[in-house]
Each structure stands twice: as structure tokens, then as C-alpha cells.
């Protein structure tokens, strides 16, 4: 699993289905089943999940709703990705935010503010700060950790609520990261993520991520909604609702450049 959350969901499945465009939007593609003889084939499921977030390239449209105890605000944004290393997010609405953009290339993050026509680089020290006022952090956008590479994983049995398999992913000791452990619940057939519980370095539950609204997007059956709920912060949550995704589009070479960042409408 990619712990980078916002962009990767977009990138869902291009590796699995490079031919995804062959599927009509309304005819769901065949999905594998990783349960054999009543047991989850965890290696296959994790590999599938890890790859779920990799794609050659993609474009998508997302609506982000940030809820706070005293207010709720919604922003609509367009996202371009290339592999796991490059991505560009541009806010489309509300009008006063239009054109505000975030560019990620490798571990670098830049923000462009059209109002002042300036781009600033977000320093590593600000990686844990909120991204665009949401519960996601800059780190969520930048991080490229791979479940296969950074975590050891084991099936911890069946989960009852939500129904599925509980996979316990423990960070390898040498890996530097925010999370000590991620408990991931996947669907009964092992192909869809349902919930992830993130435990911090002191092994305290820090946040919950819920996937829902499974539909066919970009020729692939996947959860179109992600809800991030930080633990211990009543009234705080961020929902990412995917409206459209297209995979393996050909993107202009300069899509992920600083000059392009500043031109994006």
C-alpha cells in the first residue's frame, strides 16, 4: 500500500489493467480473488494493493470536503500523476481558490498561489503540516513508501466490522516514517481496501482511513470515496470523492514542471 493517499488512489490499478481503456465504464472488469481454501493469499493481496496505486500516468477530478467542528468547506480539484513520483493538483473551485496548485516531483513539494503569482517550496520541516487545510499532511502527498518494501505484514484473521480480512503491517525497524503499524482491512475476496488504522511511533491509534462507494472509474472497480478521520479530534474529517479518473493518458512532457505549475488555469 502506498501511504501517500491522495494521488495514489487515482493511480489505482493502471499496473493491473494497462488495458483498462478496453473496459466500458459500466461493465466492471474481472477482479481476482485472493482467497483460496478459506485462507487469504496475503502476498498476492499485498502485491495487488501495492500496485493498486501505481500507474504510468493518470488524470482525475476530485472533490475534497474538509469538516471542522464549526464549518465545512468543499474544494474541487484536478489531478495529474505520472508513476508514483510526479503529480500535480490544481484547485478548480471555489473561484477564489482557482489555480492554487501543488506540484510534487520526487520528494519535493511546491505550492503555487495565483493571487500573488508566487511559487514556494514546502521545506521538509513542514511535511507534517496540513495540506490545503485538510486532515491530510504534505507528507501524505510526498511519501512513496511501499507496503512491500517498508512493512512486514501478516494476516491477523478475519475482521467483523467491516467484514473482511485484517492485515497487520508493521514497519521494518530500519524504515524511518510516521507509522509504527498500519492495520489494514480488505474485502472478503482480498481485492478492495475497506479501512486502515494508522498507529504512530508510540503505537497509539492516530487516524482511520475508510474506503467506500465502490464503483467503476477509469475502467476499474475501486472505492471512489476516501474518508480520513484523525483520532481524538472530534468533528474533524476529510473526504475525497473521486468523480472521474482516466488512466494511461499521454501527458505533455512539461506537465510536472515549475513553469507549467504557474500556468495552470
Amino acid at each position: 500500500m502506498k501511504t501517500g493517499l491522495i494521488l495514489p488512489l487515482l493511480a489505482v490499478c493502471s499496473v493491473l489493467l494497462p488495458q483498462s481503456l478496453a473496459f466500458a465504464e459500466d461493465s466492471p472488469p474481472p477482479t481476482p480473488n485472493f482467497v483460496k481454501d478459506g485462507k487469504l493469499d496475503i502476498d498476492a493481496a499485498i502485491q495487488y494493493f501495492d500496485d493498486l496505486y501505481r500507474s504510468e500516468s493518470s488524470t482525475g477530478e476530485v472533490e475534497m470536503t474538509v469538516t471542522r467542528p464549526r464549518r465545512t468547506q468543499t474544494m474541487r480539484m484536478k489531478i495529474w500523476t505520472e508513476g508514483a513520483k510526479k503529480s500535480l493538483v490544481v484547485i478548480q473551485s471555489p473561484p477564489r481558490e482557482q489555480g492554487t496548485a501543488t506540484l510534487k516531483v520526487d520528494n519535493n513539494l511546491w505550492n503555487y498561489m495565483p493571487r500573488i503569482k508566487r511559487t514556494v517550496r514546502i521545506p521538509p520541516s513542514m511535511m507534517l503540516a496540513s495540506w490545503m487545510g485538510s486532515d491530510f499532511t504534505n507528507d501524505d502527498l510526498v511519501r512513496e513508501s511501499s507496503m512491500l518494501e517498508d512493512y512486514t505484514y501478516e494476516t491477523a484473521g478475519k475482521s467483523e466490522s467491516p467484514a473482511g480480512w485484517l492485515i497487520r503491517c508493521t514497519a521494518k525497524p530500519e524504515v524511518v516514517g510516521l507509522w509504527n503499524r498500519i492495520d489494514l482491512i480488505v474485502s472478503e475476496d482480498g481485492t478492495l481496501p475497506l479501512q486502515a488504522m494508522y498507529y504512530d511511533r508510540k503505537d497509539r491509534l492516530s487516524r482511520n482511513l475508510y474506503w467506500s462507494d465502490v464503483k467503476v472509474l477509469g475502467g476499474r472497480k475501486l472505492p471512489a470515496m476516501m474518508k480520513l478521520v484523525p483520532e481524538g479530534e472530534a468533528g474533524h474529517e476529510t473526504i475525497m470523492q473521486y468523480h472521474d479518473i482516466t488512466f494511461d493518458v499521454t501527458l505533455p512532457a512539461d506537465t510536472f514542471s515549475l513553469s507549467r505549475l504557474e500556468q495552470t488555469p
Binding site: V66, M113, I116, V120, R121, P123, L258
Partner: protein, 417 residues
């Protein structure tokens, strides 16, 4: 006590001048230490207190009930100008300073080929003119360096990190009170230092109006700092502020409540006063007791003679005690004189105790207060007085025993020794 007793006491001190001088030196050194150390501590804590009850917390601080916990931009007080008018009309209130405080990102706003690196910063929207008064956040900032409308001044540490200088543009990126991203460019009027660490290391200071416009907070503020006539009367001021209906839901705190840890340290400090007085007391007691005993035992023969020719034992006691008291007072006087002169000099030059450790930094930060390593000692009369009382009492007590011994001498026996 007769004049003769006084004179005899005085003349007795001259019998062994070396011994007397040594005793006086010991007492003087004690008093000198007491004065210097207490004045330095007083100067240090006065500096800290002035920062807390001045720019940092004021005498009483009014905030949204959730502000201290969460510091979220939308936890503000409403109708600030009405509240301000209400506060200013109160006889207890000397000055009112509403403030907007919001975390943000800042970077150089100058055009360049490579994007500037953003730094974490704090937007401080202040009543610029009011805050330049004594005890304000911008105390002493002259008019030429005050930010006009649309301008900002930047904390020295933040400015260094961003590599900006006055005259350049600063890009400020934050979130408004509704959580939407906001950004603005501001010309930098000046780079400032502040005793409030947050301002020095992260501060972007602008007018309340500009901050309100940027963060969409019309007539709103995150805190209102209120100054009464005396910071020691903050509790009464707090009670008075609490009667304003618009602030019924707000959090109202005195400076003591706002920074309890530092108040605790100041309390501990008064114990140090006591410890130092005790040290002087003991040093004086040892010096005087020794001198008094030696000179008494040396003079057994003489005392016997005096008793034999009809001196009353009371007179003998009086003579020995007077001798000690004079000794103590001279010591105190010498110590006080040297101490006061030293304190006066240091209060002009400042005492840089970082140099003692060979350090080059000029300040440290504790609990958001920048504490300078350079102390300007502050002498209080009580510190001289403590020493005076302690030594006078000690002189009497320490000499009483040898004096009583001398008074009880058997004249015939004493004259034989």
C-alpha cells in the same frame, strides 16, 4: 548605655587591628555577596516579569474559550471594537491591545528563478501604535520602522532564515478563518527583535486591519490583552473584565494563570533570598563570635580588675556587646558601600553571565520568553536592610555568651590569670 561604654567598646576594637579588620572583611564580604546576588536576581526576574506582564500576556488576557487549547484560526472573539470601547471605559483599565494570531507559511516574495523555500511563521495582527508604547509588543519601535497599511515587519530570526531584508517583498500563505487558503504579498518595512520568542523567531507583524482582511476576520481578534495600573492587581482587573456581558463565554486569565510555571519559578526565587540572608547571617555570626570570644578571654585579667574596682557586670556585658555591634555595623557599612557602587556600575553596563561560561549567545528562550544573558541588576532597599538586621542581631547574639562569661568572672580569680 553610657557614652563611656560606647567609647570603651570602640577603643577595644583597636587593640588587635588585624583581627578586627579580618572580622569586618568577613562581614563586608557577606553583605556584598548578598547585595550583588540579590540585585542580579532581582534584575533578572524583573526583566522576565516585565516581558510577561508587558508584551506577552499583559495583566489580563481575554481569548475565545477554546483558543489556548487549539489555537485554530476560527476561534476568535467577535465585536472587538465594542468590547474594546467597553474595556477602555473601565477605570481599572490603562490600555487595551486586541491581537490576531495565526500560523502561516512565509517566504521571500522576490521574483527568482528558483522558488523560495517556505518557512513556518506566525501572523500577528496588532494595534501598531498602541503596541509601541511601554510594555507593548513593539515597544520602542520608532515611527520610521512601524508597518504602515499593507506593510509588515518581520522577526529577526525568521528574516534571517528567509534571507529577506527591509524593502523586499514577503509572500504570506495561510488559511483564513473559514479554512480556505489565502496568500498575499507584503513589503517588509523593518526587521525587529522582540522579547516574545514567537515574534522574534516566527513573527510577521502587521496591522489588525491588514490581518483581518487577509484572514477574513472583520472586527474579530484571537486575544485581547488588557493592562491595568499595576500588574499585581490583575485579579481585581480580571474580576472587573468578567462583568462585561459580551465576554461571558470567553476565557479571561491573569498573567499568573497564563504562565503558572514562571510564577512558580519566581516563588522559588524568594527562597533564594532567604538562603542568601542565612549565609550572611552565618558568616557574620562566625566572624563576630570568634572576635568577641578571643578578645574576651584575652582580657579576663582586665575584666576582673574592672569588677574589683566596682564595675557592674551589666557594664561589662554592655561593653562587649557594643564592641561587637560596632564591628558588625562597620562590616555592613563597608559591604553595602562596595556593593551599591558595584550594582550601580553593573546597572549601567549590564552583567553578561554568558561570558562566565564562555558562550557567545546573548539570550536563551524559556516558555516563549526570550531571556537575555545580560542582566541589569536592580537594588532594592530590602536587600541592604536584610543584611543590616541579620548582622546586628547576630552581633548581639554572638557576643552575648562571651559577655555573660566575662560578667560572671570572680574578680580575685580573674586578676590572677
Amino acid at each position: 548605655m553610657s557614652f563611656v561604654t560606647l567609647r570603651m567598646g570602640w577603643r577595644n576594637l583597636g587593640r588587635n587591628r588585624k583581627r578586627t579588620l579580618l572580622a569586618i572583611g568577613a562581614i563586608a564580604l557577606g553583605q556584598l555577596t548578598l547585595i550583588i546576588v540579590n540585585s542580579l536576581m532581582e534584575g533578572f526576574f524583573q526583566d522576565v516579569l516585565e516581558t510577561i506582564t508587558g508584551p506577552m500576556v499583559g495583566h489580563v488576557q481575554v481569548q475565545h474559550a477554546g483558543w489556548r487549547e487549539e489555537r485554530a484560526v476560527d476561534l476568535y472573539l467577535d465585536h472587538v471594537s465594542d468590547i474594546r470601547r467597553g474595556l477602555e471605559a473601565m477605570p481599572e483599565v490603562r490600555r487595551v491591545s486586541p491581537r490576531i494570531v495565526s500560523f502561516a507559511l512565509a517566504a521571500s516574495g522576490e521574483k527568482s528563478d528558483t522558488p523560495a523555500e517556505a518557512e513556518p511563521a506566525v501572523i500577528a495582527g496588532l494595534d501598531i501604535v498602541g503596541e509601541t508604547e511601554k510594555g507593548g509588543m513593539l515597544e520602542g519601535l520608532d515611527a520610521a520602522r512601524q508597518p504602515a497599511s499593507g506593510e509588515v515587519v518581520v522577526g529577526a530570526v525568521l528574516a534571517t532564515r528567509m534571507g529577506v531584508v527591509p524593502g523586499q517583498l514577503l509572500a504570506v500563505i495561510g488559511q483564513d478563518a473559514d479554512g480556505f487558503p489565502v496568500s498575499e504579498l507584503f513589503p517588509i518595512k523593518a526587521i525587529i527583535n522582540s522579547k516574545v520568542d514567537l515574534i522574534k523567531t516566527m513573527g510577521i507583524v502587521m496591522s489588525m486591519e491588514d490581518a483581518g482582511k487577509l484572514l477574513i476576520m472583520p472586527d474579530q481578534a484571537h486575544e485581547i490583552t488588557v493592562y491595568g495600573h499595576d500588574f499585581q492587581e490583575a485579579d481585581a482587573l480580571k474580576a472587573a473584565i468578567g462583568t462585561i456581558p459580551a465576554l461571558r463565554e470567553a476565557s479571561i486569565q491573569t498573567w499568573r494563570e497564563a504562565v503558572p510555571q514562571i510564577v512558580q519559578i519566581i516563588k522559588v526565587k524568594s527562597w533564594f533570598d532567604f538562603i542568601f540572608v542565612s549565609i550572611v547571617f552565618i558568616a557574620a555570626a562566625a566572624g563576630i563570635a570568634n572576635t568577641a570570644m578571643m578578645s574576651t578571654f584575652e582580657r579576663k585579667h582586665e575584666f576582673g580588675m574592672l569588677l574589683a574596682i566596682g564595675s557592674r557586670p551589666r557594664r561589662i556585658v554592655g561593653m562587649v556587646v557594643v564592641e561587637s555591634v560596632i564591628l558588625g555595623l562597620i562590616g555592613i557599612l563597608a559591604g553595602t558601600l562596595i556593593g551599591v557602587v558595584l550594582v550601580l556600575i553593573l546597572s549601567k553596563t549590564g552583567f553578561n553571565y554568558a561570558l562566565l561560561g564562555g558562550g557567545e549567545a546573548d539570550s536563551i528562550t524559556y516558555r516563549d520568553i526570550t531571556i537575555s544573558f545580560v542582566i541589569y541588576p536592580y537594588l532594592r532597599f530590602k536587600h541592604v536592610f536584610y543584611g543590616l538586621i541579620a548582622v546586628t542581631l547576630t552581633s548581639v547574639l554572638a557576643s552575648l555568651w562571651p559577655a555573660l562569661l566575662a560578667a560572671r568572672l570572680e574578680p580575685a580569680e580573674a586578676m590572677h590569670t
